[in-house]
Assembly symmetry: C2
Homo-oligomer: 370 residues x 2
């Protein structure tokens, strides 16, 4: 029996025309270790926007029922050359009910269960997913489970990565995000120090309300002084930055170095011996990353992605992380949503402009069968 339903696709042509549209499709039968999931809830995360909207001119796009067509400006169009002409699915993660399975025992055992999964095609009424990556939700609702993967595993991944690297403290820029709030709770549970950087006074109050000890506001005139004091108090020379563009990471490196230099007894032209480590894990700012020559040579900056981290961490660690997410799905790892939209509603001008702004605490949930 062939399953049919609606699915979202995003296509960028070489002339910069971005078409995002709902189509009626037939889904393949699951084979081997695959399952077919009736997808009931899928969040729109910043990482989804990379192919859903990217830097397209959404103000001047053409919107029609279940479709928009927009222009991708340079240098983003040329930078996306590798996807030109390809019709891509979208939606990293979501939750739904397993309605069919391949031959493997693991896949067959999931039939009828609610699961969270990471199909890469979650903006769809049905998805093929790998049974190994499915997280059975037990009594939890699909809404509770829809964001069980990307944010929880990323926040846990930071803490795991920090521990692997022998660190006891982390700096987090854009710390008021859903993920940032999870990180505060994880660090509290695991006894790690955390320096939270936010850009609004409201967010300082929000995070202090969650018990965060060190919250600094990048909009304050004395931001750099606040940041140095927090780094000095925590010895945090290791951090994660979802902003990417501009000087978010540069400011952190500067403050780290100034703290390290203040503890040196003798001047060195090469700066301190304190190793400073930052990871860029998102691109909330799509401008270039600016690194000023003001913290010597003892620093390392990397891109950070969840999938290769998990592959390196190994199955035992990943299984332990998944179980921790499941055990705390409605507490530490709870996500909240501003609104729910179905597949057609998510492609209206009002919705697209709103979720592309990526405002803190205003996440959208897509419910493909509503």
């Amino acid at each position: 029996m062939t399953t049919t339903g609606k699915q979202l696709f995003t296509t960028l042509e070489s002339d910069g025309t971005l078409t995002v549209a709902i189509e009626d499709v037939s889904f393949p039968e699951p084979t081997d270790n695959q399952v077919l999931v009736k997808m009931e809830a899928a969040p729109i995360n910043p990482s989804d926007l990379a192919i859903l909207t990217s830097a397209a001119d959404l103000e001047n796009a053409e919107y029609s029922n279940g479709k928009f067509v927009a222009k991708m400006p340079e240098p983003f169009n040329t930078g996306s050359k590798a996807r030109h002409g390809q019709k891509l699915p979208a939606g990293n993660e979501g939750a739904g009910t397993v309605v069919a399975a391949g031959d493997s025992d693991m896949a067959k055992a999931l039939v009828g269960q609610r699961v969270a999964c990471v199909p890469g095609s979650a903006y769809s009424q049905y998805c093929i997913a790998d049974a190994t990556m499915c997280l059975p939700l037990g009594d939890h609702s699909v809404e509770d489970g829809a964001s069980a993967f990307v944010n929880p595993m990323t926040a846990l991944g930071f803490v795991e990565n920090a521990k692997m690297d022998g660190q006891n403290a982390i700096v987090h820029t854009a710390a008021a995000s859903n993920l940032g709030q999870m990180l505060i709770k994880i660090c509290q549970e695991d006894g790690l120090e955390l320096v939270n950087i936010v850009r609004k006074a409201d967010h300082v109050d929000l995070l202090k309300g969650l018990g965060a000890k060190h919250v600094v506001n990048s909009s304050d005139d004395d931001f750099m002084k606040q940041l140095r004091e927090a780094i000095d108090a925590t010895d945090a020379f290791y951090g994660f930055d979802p902003i990417g563009g501009g000087q978010a990471t540069d400011n952190v490196f500067k403050a780290m170095e100034q703290v390290a230099v203040s503890k040196m007894t003798e001047y060195s032209r090469y700066g301190s011996n304190q190793q400073k480590r930052m990871f860029i894990y998102g691109r909330l700012d799509m401008g270039p990353t600016i690194l000023t020559p003001s913290y010597g040579f003892g620093w390392t900056l990397s891109g950070w992605l969840l999938t290769p981290f998990l592959a390196n961490a190994g199955m035992e660690t990943v299984t332990r992380m998944r179980q921790r997410v499941l055990d705390n799905l409605t507490t530490t790892f709870a996500s909240s949503y501003k609104t729910k939209v179905n597949l057609e509603e998510m492609l209206t001008k009002e919705a697209v402009l709103d979720y592309r702004a990526m405002k803190t605490g205003e996440k959208y949930l897509v419910t493909p069968h509503s």
Copy 2:
């Protein structure tokens, strides 16, 4: 018996006044494992300029006999806050004759020998140096030995670092430098592939004359194409950049990613899985480093400094590297100089403006007793 002589000092005041001047000083007696070296030849390397001139306005400085006074512009003055008011020696390395020693057997055994050393105060008629770090030059002249440390050990360090990281190929920006030419020979000897980036057609010819296989010219219109082809031919996803500012590293990351993506069978919004690694080991360009969001998240950029690298590499590796330098001091590791100056001559306007320009193949040698 007290030894007296001339020594260069550099002082930056908090108001941005940089004073570089020769003074008559008394040198302490060497103790323990120290030796006193009569310094006969010391090169001016880019790394020395960090405290000798930095970004000071040398065109409008006041020059007098054995002295210049210049203004340090912002943001460099504030960025150098840690040295404000401190009178610093200068000159990383040099060669001379050991004239006195502390009590240790190692130090005493060096008396009367010509040695290369790394005192950090080589622009001086005498220096205190650590015997452990002295390289006895045997029959080699002080001129042959003056640059035996910084460039040779850095170039060897790149190759050692690449091998430790399992790499068989290196990209080098600003490859026509003295160090770049050493790196070409080392890579030939050790069977590593090397992609050389230069900015002049003359330099392409120069390096090809040394047997370099892959030389690309950043001034050519098709530079990025040349770079991609060289990376494709060598699988070099690992490199070293002495330019630091601007987009030298960014261009290399872009080309690496484009080569990696061209080999992928399926599009990924996150870019390739190819890890790309670059190190900034100098600041020929003191502007900010610009990293564009055009090569996914699979990249790491670090500052690289020789001293911490050697400390991590361990004594056995360092001893092997030093022996290799000594064995090939007039071939692989030969340095050439544009001109020789004494301590007073090195502080004339003509000399300062000339060596601060850091032109390829125009290194100065300071001979404090001439």
